[in-house]
Amino acid sequence: MLRFAVRRLAFLPVAVFVILSAAFFLVRTLPGGPFDRERSLPPAVQKRVREAYHLDEPVWRQYVRYLEGVAADLDFGPSTRYANRSVNGLLADSLPTSFALGAAALAFAVLLGAPIGVWSAARPRGALPLLSTTLALVGVALPSFVVASLLLLLFGFVLEWLPVAGWGTPAHVVLPAIALGLPVAAVVARLVRVGMIDALSQDFARTARADGVAPSRILWRHAFRIGCLPAVSYLGPAAASVLTGSFVVEKIFAIPGMGAHFVNSVLNRDAPLLVGCAVTYFVVLYVMNLFSDLVHAGLDPRIRLR
């Protein structure tokens, strides 16, 4: 298992290099540049600004320069949108926020989704499957901007329980975490249900039942270990995207996270910031996938990682 993890991590630098290069060149193929605005800059100023960011050089030289910066000090360069701000500084500011929110959203998703999945698998007919279906309805079938706006209106304005926007206190985390976590919770519930139905039909569960082990113990101690596996595989990549922020949720709740940078850097043609975001996202995705594979292997004795 250790060797597997080491080998996967050894591939990471190569992968990061590819992602970095792709993002670097892709954003340059978009029409319009970072300094194009409604009001044109005077040509002389435009020229000077482009020189300042080395945009006047041939692309390959910009690329080499950029690679050197990243390779030497993990320096993703200056943002072209926010004067005097480095990409590293912007990410260091926004990533912890996104992580905090994402962690809360994941906790919400798992704590809500997993029990619903287990219970609705244990008792296929009844109120709980209906509950899980209802959850799926809201979580999977509505765009997040609709869910977020409705939550906001209900809990922020009608009930006045929670702040409507902003970031700073634990109360600020609740609504965005729900909006962000709900679709994940719905998928987790569905996958856990499928996995549990599968697990409960297997021999060990039947044997345990025959031996008189308490049903709740079978459910949680034995079956859940196997039954949660599909959800664990799903949660790897899902965690990566939740932890690195969501543009919509951040926008509606005015949260200074990384999701806004990811989208806005493309809209602003802020190549260094986009590269920084893409690489960060990819690293988190990679690590989360690896983590979910390891958890998978730890839980399921049948799997051997090579």
Partner: protein
């Protein structure tokens, strides 16, 4: 060819299992009904003199009434008519976008799985990498160079969503590769291509079709996200995602034009939920463990 060599058993058996799933059946009925309404509805409304594109600023934000059954939007356009027209586009985008993604992903994944070995690993590493690409760039890029037509949107959405199908297809193919009938065919000297056509397509297709029902909602929601950014369909075209985004826009703490949010959201929820049910039903029906 005897049915037993298919991984999922015969198609007939699977269909009969599907019919026994109540939610899946309900979902299918809802979908067909919705699609039919969206196809036929606009013509009927047209007869009644209600068109989705007629702007009537005097009827701005009119609540549901005798004239406008589901109310009117910001431009005084009839919401019902727009909902029906949006349904056509959303369903079309969903189905075509998902099909593009499945065709692309399925072919790629199957090719990787079939090739096996180093080629397989390399091809799947590429997929892993592509997961990390900023899809927004791709959408803007296609929109900028090919124009912002619905067709381009299909393509963009398909290009964004093809990675997961590729993984699924590759996984399925890798499993089949080692099965006796493929090994036998190889031993008999079939080329890869022939094996692929003869056996794998028929085994792969059901899995991908089941996944289609689950991809369509993803594509529809992604279009909604693009509409929220102002990068989705453009007037005079309309989609449910755009209607929902516009509805949310009009959702203020000062006044709630509830019909502008409720109806598009309900249409989306109903459709996507039905698709989920159908997808789940198909998956259950095709599950090899439950094969008769």
């Amino acid at each position: 060819m005897p049915a037993s060599i298919h991984a999922f058993g015969s198609v007939d058996a699977a269909l009969s299992r599907f019919r026994r799933e109540p939610l899946a059946r309900a979902g299918l009925i809802v979908l067909v009904a919705l699609a039919a309404t969206c196809v036929v509805g606009p013509a009927i409304l047209d007869r009644l003199g209600i068109a989705a594109r007629t702007i009537d600023l005097e009827a701005q934000f009119e609540p549901p009434s005798f004239h406008h059954w589901l109310g009117a939007d910001r431009q005084g356009r009839d919401l019902l008519a727009r909902l029906l027209e949006g349904g056509r586009l959303s369903l079309a985008i969903g189905i075509l976008g998902a099909s593009v993604s499945l065709a692309l992903g399925g072919a790629y994944g199957a090719a990787a799985g079939l090739a096996g070995g180093r080629t397989d690993r390399t091809m799947m590493r590429v997929v892993d990498l592509l997961y990390g690409l900023p899809y927004m760039v791709i959408v803007i890029l296609l929109g900028a160079y090919l124009g912002r037509s619905v067709l381009v949107l299909f393509l963009a959405l398909g290009l964004v969503e093809w990675l997961t199908p590729a993984r699924i297809a590759r996984g399925e193919v890798a499993r089949f590769r080692e099965r006796e009938f493929v090994l036998a065919a190889r031993a008999l000297g079939s080329t890869n291509r022939a094996i692929f056509r003869r056996h794998l397509v028929r085994n792969l297709l059901p899995v991908l079709v089941a996944y289609l029902a689950l991809t369509v909602p993803r594509v529809i929601l992604f279009e909604a996200f693009l509409s929220y950014l102002g990068l989705g369909v453009q007037p005079p075209d309309v989609s449910w995602g755009l209607l929902a985004a516009d509805g949310v826009q009009a959702l203020t703490p000062v006044r709630v034009y509830w019909w502008l949010v409720l109806f598009p959201a309900a249409a989306l929820a109903l459709t996507l939920l039905s698709l989920n049910w159908v997808g789940e039903g198909l998956r259950a029906a095709l599950d090899p463990k439950r094969r008769a």
